[in-house]
Structure formats: C-alpha cells, structure tokens
Symmetry: D4
Subunit: 247 residues, 8 copies
C-alpha cells in the first residue's frame, strides 16, 4: 500500500474518506484469532514464511500451515515435533521433515542457492542446532558448506579446513560448553561470524550460559551472537549477509 | 465486627468480658487443620473466593471447595490439573473447567460484567497465561477484550488494534522471550498496563527471567509487573483498576 | 492531528498531497538532535512533562528544560544531582529542588490535588525512594499521605495505621531488604498496592534483588511491582489509578 | 575415649605403645566401604542416628539401617522414597514411614517429649517440609505444636494464633514464594525463629531462592536460616535450642 | 497493656469507650515522623534498644539516640560511621565507639555477662564482622570467647582450640571465601552454630555468595545461617540461645 | 607470506631449510614483549589497526601507537581516558580524541565513506556507546546516519524515522534498560540489526543484563547481539556487512 | 610429520610442491563427516583414546568405536547409557561397562599401573563421579586408592585416613553440597588436590554451584578445580600429575 | 612431633602425662591473637611462608612479617598495597615490592630455580595476574618462561610460540573476557594447564565469570581451574607440579 497513491485516490474522489481511513488502519496481515499471519514478510524481504512450531497446539499449527500454503508460499516450520509433523503432513501433502533439525519444509518453489555460508560445529552433539541453521539458510537460497566437529580442543581439525571456511561470505559457528570456536574462527577469517551457543554440556555450562558469555566476550572482531540453540536465527542472519555479498 | 459496637456492648453488660475477649481473638476464618479459609475476603472486597490448586492433595482440595461452596460463594480454582478437577466435580456438581487456563469455576451467582479490560499477548504460546488473566477478570465482573499474537516483532499487528486497546480501563500485556510488548503498549495508551512475563521461550529466556527484566526496566510510564506466568494476579489487579473506573 | 480531518482537507484540495504525506509522517515531537521531546504526552494524558536527568550532560538537560518551559508546561525532573539542578535553575528561574527525592519541579500551573494515595516505607532508609513516589504523585494531582517506618519487623506500627491506609485509592509500599511490606499491606487492604523494592540493605539483598523477588512472589492479590528504586514509576502508576477512582 | 586415661594406661604399662597408637588413630566409626558410620554421635549428643536416604542405592541403605539397628539405636531416615522404605522394612521389621514427610522412623526406645517447638507454614503446600521438621523434632524428644496455613497474606490467621506460638521455646517458620512469614513471626516473638524457605512457588520464586533471600534479609532479629526445603535441619536445630530451655 | 484489664475498666465505667478505642489503637511506640521507635522491645525481651545507623541522616540518628537515651535505655548502634558517631557523641555524652566493629554503645546500666558464646573466624580479615557479633552478644549480657584465624585450611589451628569451643552454649562461625568453617565446627560440637558468611574474598566469592551457599549446604546438623556480614544478627541470635541455657 | 612461494624457493635452493623452517614458524606480527602487534590485519581485511586502551599502562600504550604509526597505518584507539590521550598526543602529533566516544583516532590516510549504516539509540544516555559504534564505522569507511532517542516508549519517534532507517545496509540499535529497540527495529527493516545492550539504567537492569537478554530473545529475525556497551564491536560488524553490500 | 624432513624432501625433489603443500595442510586426523578422530593423541601423550558418549546417536557411537578399535587402540567411553553400551558391545566384543561410573572400557593392551592417586568423596552419593575419576586414572595407568564418605561433617573419618591419603602423588576430592572437602584435604597434604564439585544436593546447592564456588574459593593452596560432575577430567588431570612423579 | 616417640617418652617416664597432653594439643603454630602463624608449612612442603596482605591492617601485617622473618624464613606477601609495603619495609629492611604483581618478597635464602613453568596471557591487561603467578613460582624455585598477549583472537601469535610452551612441565594460562586461551593451549600440549580467569573485561564478562565458566567447560583434557585473578594459587599449583617432574 503506497501512501501517496492512496492520498491521490482520495483527492480524485476515487476513494472515499471512510475507506481511506480504514485502509490506513488495515495492515497486510490475516487474523486467525489465535495468530496473526504476515503475508507481507515474503514480499518485503524475498524470504518465505516461517512458523515457530513449539508451544502451538496441533490444531493451531495445521491451521497456520494451511493458510500459508493455500497462497502457494514456501513455508518453513521450526522446532516441530514428529507428532506435529504428522498432523501437518496429513493436511499439507508436500511437507517434509528432518528429524535432526526438527524442521518442516514446504517448498513448492524452492529458492535457487547462491553465495556461500559455512556452518561449523565444535562437536558432534552440536549438529542438530547446526542443521537448523544450515537448512534455514538453504531454504532461503544460500549454498551451505558444513564443517562439523572442528572444536578448538583439537585445533588442527579447524586449521585443516580454514582455507575453505574463509571463502564463505558468512560463517555460522555453533558450539556448546566452552564455546570458544566463534572467537577463534573470527580471528582467522575476515567475514562476519554468527555465533550460536548451544545448551550442549553439563555442570557449569548452565544450559548454554557458559558458551553464550564466551561468545559475547570474544576478543576477535566480527562476532554476532544469537540466542542459545537458535539455529534458525543464525541461518536467517547468515542469509541476510550472504545476500548482500551476492548483490 | 465493629470494635466500638463491641465495647459498647461490654459496657452495657450485654456482652461479658470473656465473650468479648474471645470475639476479639476470633477472626473470621475457618480452620481445616491443613488450611485456614477466609470467608470475609468476599465480603470485604466484593470478590469471590480463590483457591490455588497446585501442590494441594485431592483430599485437601475437595475439602476446601466443599467448605466454600456450602456457603454459596462463587469460587475460582487456579492452576488445577484435570485430575484435580475430576475430584472437585464429583463433590461439587456445578464446577466447570477450562483446559487452556487450567481454571476451575463455580459461580452460582456470576458477577455482571462491566467496564473493559484488554488482554494482549505477544505470541500464540502466551495464550494459556492470558486466558488465566482474562477468565479471572471475567469471573470478578470485568468485560474483557482479547488481542492475541500482537507482539512487537510485527508491529503493524499491534498498531492495527491500538485504538480498541486504548478504550480499555486497564491493559494486561502477556509476553515471553523478549517481553517488549508491555513497554510498547504503555507508550501508546494512557491507562495502567499490567505486565505478565511468561516462561515461553528457550535458551537465554531463562524461564521467563528475560521477559521479567524487560518489563521491570520499561522506559514507558505506567507498567505494573506481576510474577512470571501469573495470569491470575494480573486478572485480579486489572479487576481492581477496572472497578475504580466503573465507580 | 486528526486523520479524518486531514483526509477531508486532502479531498477538498485545501491540503496538497505532498503536505499531507509530510504531516502523516511528522508526529508531534520536537527534535533536538540528542533528544526528541514529546509535547503531546501532556495533552494525551493530562499529565505534565517528565525528564529523567541521570546520565544527561548539563547542556542537554538545560536545553530540554528550556524547550519544555518555553511552552509553559509543568515539568518534573527525576534523579537530578545538585549540580544539574544548579544549571537548570540558572536557566529556568522558577525551578525547585528536593535533595531527598532528587526531584526538580517546575510547576507554573500546579495541578489541584484530589483523591488519596498512601505511601508507606519499611524503614527510614527507604524514605528517599518514597519521597520520589510521593512528590511525583503530588505533582500530577494526587493528595498523598505518608506512613514511614512501618516495616513488618514491628507489625504493630503498621497495624496502628492500617485504617488510614485503607482509605487511600492506591497504596505505594516501599521496602528494601526482605521487602515483605507490600504483601502484608496487600493482604490488609483491597486496593491496588504498587510495590517498590529498594536497594537498601547489604549482603544477600544483592542491590534490591531480594526485595524485588519477595514482591513478585507475594501471596496476596493486588500487588503491582515496579523496578528497584523506581519511586517515579510508582508515583505515576498510583496517579493513574487514583485518577480512575476520582472519575 | 579419654586421652588422659589412655596416657596413664601407657605409663602404667597397661597399654603398649602400638596399641595406644592404634587407639589414637581409630576413631569410633564403622567402615562399610561406601559409607563410614558414626556410632558416637548418639553418645555425644544424646540424639539418635540419622540417614539421608536420597541418592543411596537400596543395597547401601539396607546395609546402613541394619548396622545401626543391630546396635539397638533409634534411627531416622530422611528423604526416603516409598521404594526405599519397602526395602528397609523387609530388613528391619519395626520401621515406619510417613508419606508426607518421607521420613523412615525406627525407634525401639523413643525419646520422651519435653519443652515446646512451634512449627508454622505459610500455606498448605509447605506442609511436607514442615512435617519433616516437626517429626524430626518429635523423634529427638520435643513436644511440637503445628500452625499451618498462617501466611502473611491473611495476617489475622497468624495473629489469631500468636499467643500460643509465643509459648514455644523455638519457632520453625516454613514458607515458600515470598517467604515473609519468618520475619513477621520473629517480630512478634522473642525466641529464635528457624526459617525454612521452601521450593513451593513458580516463576520468580526460582526454586526457593526468593524465599531464601527474604529470610536472610529479615529486618527482625532472631532469624536463623537453613537450606531450601531442609525440614530436617530445622527440626534438628529447633531440638538443640529447645533442649537448652529444658535444661 | 492487658486487654482483659482494659475491658474490665470499660465495664466498670472507669474507662470510657472513646478512650478504650484509642488505647486499643495506640501501640507502645513513639512516632518521630521518619522513624517509629519501639520502647516495648526492651521490656518484652529483656534486651536494650538497637539502631541500624547505615543510611540514616545525622539528624535522624541524633534524634533517635536522644529519644532512646532520654528514657535511660541501653542503646546499641550498628554500622555507624565515624562521622555519625561524632554527631551522636556530641548529643549523648556517654556514647562509645569501636572502629573495628563500627558499633556505638551507650550502656548506662550494662548487662551482667553470663553463660558463654564462642566467636570464631576463618581468617584475620573476618575480624570486623566477628567483633560486631561479639560486642553485640556482650552488650546483651553474654560472656564471649574469641577464636580468630582458625580457618579450615590449617585445621590444626581449629583442632587445637576445639575443646574450649565445645564448652560454649552457642558458637558463632564467621568466614568468607570458601566459608567451610561453620560446617566443620558444627561437626565437632553439639551446640547450635550460627554461621556468618562474610564478603571477604575476591573473584568467585561474589561478595560473600560463595560462603553463604557453603554454609546453607553444610552437611553437618545444627548450622543456622544469617545474612552476609550480619555480625549483629548472629550476636543477637547467639544471645537468645545462650540465655536459654542460662535459664 | 605465501606457502607455495616459500616451497618453490626451497626447491630452487634460493632459501635454505633452516631459513624456511624459521619463516614457517615466524608469523607476521611484531613482538614488543608486553604486546604482540598484528601488522597483517590491515592487509588481510582492508581495515586499519585497532588498540583497546583500557587496562594498558601509559608506557605500553604510547609504545603500541608509535609502532603502528611509524608504519603509516591508520590507528583507532578505543576506551581511552583523557590522560591516555594526552600521552599519545605528545608522542603522535596527529592524534585526535572524542570525549563522548572515548576514541583516539589517527588517520593519515582516511578511508572514503560509502554505503550506509544507521545508528539508533533508545535514549540520550545511550549516545556515548552509539558514538563509539558510529565513529568506528566511519573510521573504516562507512557513511553513518544517526537516529538518537527513538526508544520504543515513544514509538512515533521511531516510526517517524523508519523510512530513512530502512535505506541503510545495516542498522546498529543501541539501548539500555528494557532494550526493546533492537527487536522492534528488526521487525520493521529487512537488513541485519546489530544490537548493542548498554549498561544505562538502574535497579533490575543489572548493569545491562536486562537489555542483553531482551536482545538475545528478540522474536524478530535478523538480530545480531554484541557485548554490553561494545560500540566498537558493533561498528566493526556493521562495517563488514556494509562493505558486502557495497561490493 | 617432521617439518625439517619435509623441507629436505622438497629440496631434493623427492616431494613435489603440491604434495608438500597438501601435507602441510593435512593434519593427522581421520574425518568421518560427523566426527573427526584424533589418532595422534595416543601417540603424543601415551594415553589411549577417549569418547564422550552423551549426546551422540547410537550409529555415530558405534562408528567411532569401530574406527578406533580397528587400530587396536585402548578406548575409554564416558557418560555412556546402558543402551549405548549394548550397541557398542554388539559391534566391539571386548567392551566392558560399569553401571556406576557409566564408563565403557575397551583395553586390549591395558596400561600397567604405577604411582598412586587417592580418590576421596564427601558422601556416599558422590561415588558415581568418584568412580568415573578412579576408573579413568586406572585406565591410563595409575594405581588408585579410594576413600569414600570422608566428608568434613565427621572430620574424624577424614583424619583417620589422612596418613594414607598423604602418600598419594595427587588427591582427587569429590564433594557436593558444601564442597568443603577439597580445601580441608589441601590443608592437610602437600600434593596437588584436584577438586570435583558434584551436583549432589538440593535447594541452595543449585546443581553443584555451591560446591563449585566453595572449591574455587578454597583458602588452602594447591586446589585445582574442574567442572561439576567432571570425574573424567579429574582422573585425566590426576594421571598427568601422577605420571610426572613416576618420571 | 612424632606420636610414637612421644608415647615412648611417656612410658619411660621421661615425659609426664600433663606435658604429653599439652604437647598433643599444641600444634606447631604461633598465636598472635588476630592471626595464627604456621611455621610448619615450610618444613612440611619445602615452601616458604605466604601472607595474604589484603584486608589486614598495617599493624597486623607488620607483626606477621616480623614474626616470620625473625625465624629467617623466606616470606612472600601477596595482594599488598604500596602503603602496606612501605610499612613492612620499615620493619623488615630486605623486603622488595613489585608494583605490577603487588607482591612483597623477602628471600634471605632464595630457592634455586629448576624445571620449567610457562606463563601465558591472552592480552596485555592480564599481565598483573600473570606476574603474580610467575613470581610466586619463581619464589618457590621454578624456572619461568613468559608468553604474553598470545590470545586466541590472533592464533598465529600462540602457534608461533607453541613449541617452546610445550617444553614446560606445566602451563599457566591467564585470560579474561572469553577466556578461551586455556582450552586451546590444553589441546596443544600434553602437560597440565592451570587456568586463571581474570576480571579483565567489561559488560557480560561479569567480573571474570565469563572466563571462569569457559575454562571450567573446556573440552580439552588437562585443564585445572583456580579462582578469578588468583595468580598466586596458580603459581603455587604449578610449582607443585613442576617439582614432581623435577623429581
């Protein structure tokens, strides 16, 4: 909705005042009572729709997916349980599910993949969060390279891959426990590093707090931190950065 | 019990000293051993009785409900499990239960609803807490309007409803994760905003701590914060404020 | 600015499109570069202007006060140092300062005081925060009654004043250390209690955290919590509630 | 073992050096490999034996109980599960179990009860912890009076019982959530108050942290705090104090 | 004030109703506006008056001391600065000050000392808090024995004094940093141990939090914890316990 | 140093083995004993040199600046005190200092500015941190637009500037207290938002923790968080992103 | 891989440049996609291989064990569930499992045991963590002596064993709740004490935080702390130290 | 004092019982009232005496130093202010002071230095803590090599020195902010790494908490953590380990 256009239609009498007033109030979302769906997000940013599945009832979730899919949108569902997926699949046949990343993906018009995002993990246990990041970035049109289990306790594993990692436009560094991976990577590459602390660990890792603080305190420049276990957020941010590099 | 009246009856000899002493000691509650029931609360404030169900045994709970109901009081049970409700219903036939808000409601003489309280949520996952607030306010005689999923990440959804929200005497803002809804709403309306942080979220939301701190630090005036997930407290406070406006 | 009126002026040609577009964008604030002043807040809510002084340079502060005062507004400055006040007074002659509450007050057209707000403290050391609340409420037109040093460690001091406290439309309970005052008061009155934790204390009071948690966890209904030491916020909230009762 | 006596026996030749050396090393406990049992505690302090059951395997627990019981000691088991009790009962026939306090009690020679300890709770949900305190004190020879559900949100319930509470030699105040009971009681009685924070609550009660901080920050003198949910510790401490008063 | 006596005087006409009403309201404290002084505390408990000096203005403090002293009470001022003492001494000639404990003491009728309280510290830096405890207990009539620098890192220093410590009716254990002293002492004596964590330390002592948690988690029975650095509270509690033993 | 080139020189005999071994070990930094200076950073990333001044002695600082400047590099000093600047200026004549951002800037060959970074603050007190971000980005070649005091408590101030903010390649959102600005901005623009929590605030802001948690928990996509008060880090990250967009 | 040798082979033409470049990059690990296995760790340090089992899928785990075992390595699996062990045993016949320590052990060439490590626990519930430490040390060639249930609440149990503990080259002190064991032991022996806080406890033990802080704040010299419940890390560290003493 | 010898002297009558009893009680420390000095520590462990100066009065400190020095002991004073040193020097002429490490050193018979301890820091600001560690180790007879400013943000600085670091018997890794140095070093060397978190940093470093958690959660084996800023403790521990290697 263009405000200048609207005003011109008011002046020309094409649009009456009550209608214009209504349109100025009415913003481009659809109200389902329990959720207000943004159809404009995809338009604005060139991204598809995203549904955070955790904490929603099966009925709510199916309703939301059906509404989005009826418009032919690509839809990404995050943090979905297997049960939620079964219900969605029954209603939306083309839906696919990845048990590791817990992502539901419906992509009638998949994006072409361009540029490059590198996704690294400190250990094997960080892979589910890394896959959420990687698959999110792929959904939104990034080419993704994975470098798993390259934590700083065995530095040669990271150094052995660093040349390839440097070629990415953005690096996603996923690590729990000490969380030092992000800072070490940022010291070795000159692109933004999106740091994802994970809740992997025990004891004084305090559910990811240790890794979070490490990443926030990184001495290397160029580290951008997201919430603990927030693979989706990291994948989204990496996509925004990668798109810039792709022009 | 009026102290002046009592003293006059002592002087006139209508009441002997032992009796007066006893009356001064005996306060208007009923002792069930494991619980001391207030019958006077309803009289004093015009509100019905409230039972916090969580952590009570079924036997205790049934006993409390029966005692209150034998006096014909309206009774609200909060944080009740389905099992607790089944036991209460067996003993008190008119009891009703809402699975979302986990409220048991027994209202032989329901309040008339007046004024207006607006209940808003940031997301869909915050609705159970919001319903506890809304149904509490309704139980105590407020008219309630619900505005769900109007979180600040999609500001147009909130702005599209703000005129209606402004008409309420009090706004209950329910939000988890970042919890910014309360402060943004308070900046847009000139009535008290009761802020309810929820434990919805993950990672650095730390069980609602993030939303709680956000709300306490709101830069907008007029934000009153209650405990994490305390929908009942918010509904009660909103009722007190709404009643004032209704005179 | 009335949107319907603006649209009609566009239709009638009284206002051209570029001008209307500009007006729709331009909201009623004045931009000073380092601060954007709201002139509409007073209009909207019937309250005067408020300036949070802490953290602003003397130059910024004097500029802000001069701008507000040039419009004849009542202005309340909170958390002002004596140095800041000296600079403001030099520029705005009618300014007054209270060393206890650290409030600067400029009130060419002081509000008439109506209704009643009770302000209580647990101890003598809580008085500065209480005075910030009390003087804020007075500035905005409340009659205020003070009940200081009525903490729960000497319960008779509170009970000896409770009848008077009950007559207020809203009670502000200010307490540090254990912070139990708010819950005890809320159990004794049936009006909203605005709870202000203070940083008074030592050791495990952790700068007010103890009192804050106590107040958030109050078992009594009707407790609205604000930030630690936030006397201003409490006074503002109490004013909103008191005004409702005054019709 | 008296050191002077031992030395005299060495000098007299009644005891050889190797034997004396052995006795000086050998302290009065029995080593079961996984646990070292004190038999002397009962002798020293006049109390029976205590076993903290949680976290021990059934085999370990049965072994410990059998060893103690073979000596005819009174034994108190705390934090026992129903399963643990079944195993103990099979091995030690006289064992009894209380499901509320989770206490196993074996008392072939029960103590006579003397003096008086008052055990109060803020709410009904605090009763399990209070019973652990009360039954511990009874096991060790205290007369106990219970005052349950006398929390400060309904102050008249506490005030209605305060004269009786004052007669105790020691008061145990058990409360979760805001935890204000201990400080209010301490302000009303002049005997030591043992404060037990409980993990009852939700949200910002943070598993008992709120009540713990409240109690530590109590403005009333004479409050002794123990660990969250530590009913046993409170009962033990109350016993020590009550015994002193009993001479 | 005896309620039965008052009622009889009402019935006999000796006291009119308005007077009785007034007396029932008027509790035995004196209102100075900024502080409400308890004169009855000394009567009730046999202790003198106590003033917490920190956070009070010099004017307030002098006023409070003068009021108490005009009644001939013994008065103890805690956490007083040297400046506060100078002002008090100017108004109340007999006042004395201890720079280590920061206690002001006015004792026209000093208590006789009886029984025994042992005050121990882990290190030399804990002495100021220990002295606050020791001098408080002495003020209220306890004989006190000091055992300083007997921390568990050099266990022989504690063991070398343990027989004497065992003879006390109550032990006050003052320690910062690891705070293990309280639990070790409690395992060696069979009297209540009042544990005072101090803020002595650095790094992960977090202002006394480490010692506080250690003491709350003590595995030895009979440990009563007070707030960090709360020497006064420990001394008061020890006095209550010591008095019981003295009959 | 190119490894392939080095190996070829070894094969050709141009470089002997000991020399090659030495070079493989020697990486491009200069060792000053107390600090190891990277000369390659500027080469690798096209950025100048950066010195974190806080915590360094004056001697160390002057030495570091002289070493860098002798090579003709642009140098940025962050968190410098006025005293530190005076010492640096005496040694390096062209040095300039900004008291607000506490930045020392030496730029014999200043970068040309391209692209656009928007720097927003919630309030006036956040400006020092924002200026550190803005001047860092300018130093490294970004055009910067400032939008100060546009916090969410007065949403119209933000909305009135949002079209301009949207034109930037990256937005830096600087806010203390509730910290909601970052999430609200991210919901309104489709570029990465670098969120900088500040320590501005009091009470439950806990030195910036509240704003930090709010930003980490933002419900809007595209929020990258840096450490509390880390204006430099935000400016650096924004530069990396802005450069990508500039190709 | 010896760098000097490689360079000589380049010079002699035995190795071409591309090959040398590749070898300089390729470090001695094997890439399985989801995990990068170090074969060199054993060579470098004389220790076998270690697999942290928790959080790995059964497939990943079996793959890792098979790869290591195919080389004849000794392998230690930590934090393994019974289910994980069953899968490993099916694939690697010689595997053994200890349910207490949750360790999987495959040792075709078990180390000879030398020197001495003492492993102590505060209580019976700490034994699982202690066994992880003890069995790790034994796997890597230490002789281990166990001293369980020697916590400081019953000091004679520790003192009765202290002479034997002193003979070890390194002491591992495992304790939950108050965690004072480590500091007391370190004060009694002159060898390094590896302190392992455990999550044993309840209430204010906060999952091991209390014991962790106690150990970090130990006043005795020579205390080395590892993560909460990190028996493996303690056993490894003790092995390193014990080996030094063994020459 | 040998217990067997003492007993034999009792039996032979050489020592009477009272004398023996006294000797068994009297342990080898000297009591100065405010401090109990261990003379045996040096004997037992071959180390000199250590005085923690912070928090002691000048009088106490001088007294302690004089007592130790009168016996000809080497004495190390840690955390001493310049004022404290001046007082000590006046009383003990040979005392020397290092302003960086804040160490007072009196060494009439300095230890010969043997073995090797490597002390590394992440940044320049960590040097004071590192020097406390290094000078402590030197005082107790270690040869020390310093590697400063080798933090992981510029990994080549660490890798360029790693061969030398590997030759040490023990590495002390000192780092603030992210604190990743310890884990990275431990992955590169096979000797124990003593990790010292420092309070260097700002914002979410929370006074060293971030570095502390990072180090506790290190994924590399062989990391021993000490308290924040505890350079002395690290130096002592490193000495114990280095001595073992020196046999």
């Amino acid at each position: 909705m263009d405000i200048r256009d609207l005003l011109e239609r008011v002046r020309s009498g094409e649009l009456d005042i009550a209608g214009a007033e209504e349109m100025l109030k009415k913003l481009p979302y659809e109200d389902m009572g329990y959720a207000k769906l943004d159809h404009h997000r995809g338009l604005r940013s060139g991204f598809g729709e995203v549904v955070y599945c955790s904490g929603k009832t099966t009925e709510q979730l199916v309703g939301i997916f059906q509404t989005f899919c009826s418009g032919g949108d690509n839809v990404l569902g995050t943090r979905a349980s297997a049960e939620q997926f079964e219900a969605v699949r029954a209603a939306v046949p083309g839906a696919r599910y990845d048990t590791l990343s817990r992502i539901i993906r419906i992509a009638p018009n998949p994006c072409e993949q361009a540029g490059c995002v590198a996704v690294c993990t400190g250990g094997t246990s960080d892979i589910p969060v890394a896959e959420e990041a990687a698959q999110t970035a792929e959904f939104f049109g990034c080419r993704v390279q994975r470098f798993y289990d390259v934590g700083v306790a065995g530095l040669h594993r990271l150094l052995g891959n660093i040349e390839e990692i440097r070629r990415a436009n953005c690096v996603v560094a996923v690590a729990g426990m000490e969380g030092a991976l992000a800072g070490v990577v940022a010291g070795l590459v000159d692109k933004p590093v999106v740091a994802v602390p994970t809740s992997v660990g025990y004891g004084a890792s305090f559910g990811g707090l240790s890794a979070l603080l490490t990443m926030l305190n990184s001495c290397a420049e160029g580290v951008a931190v997201v919430n603990i276990d927030n693979g989706f957020g990291a994948g989204y941010l990496a996509t925004q950065i990668n798109r810039m590099a792709c022009g």
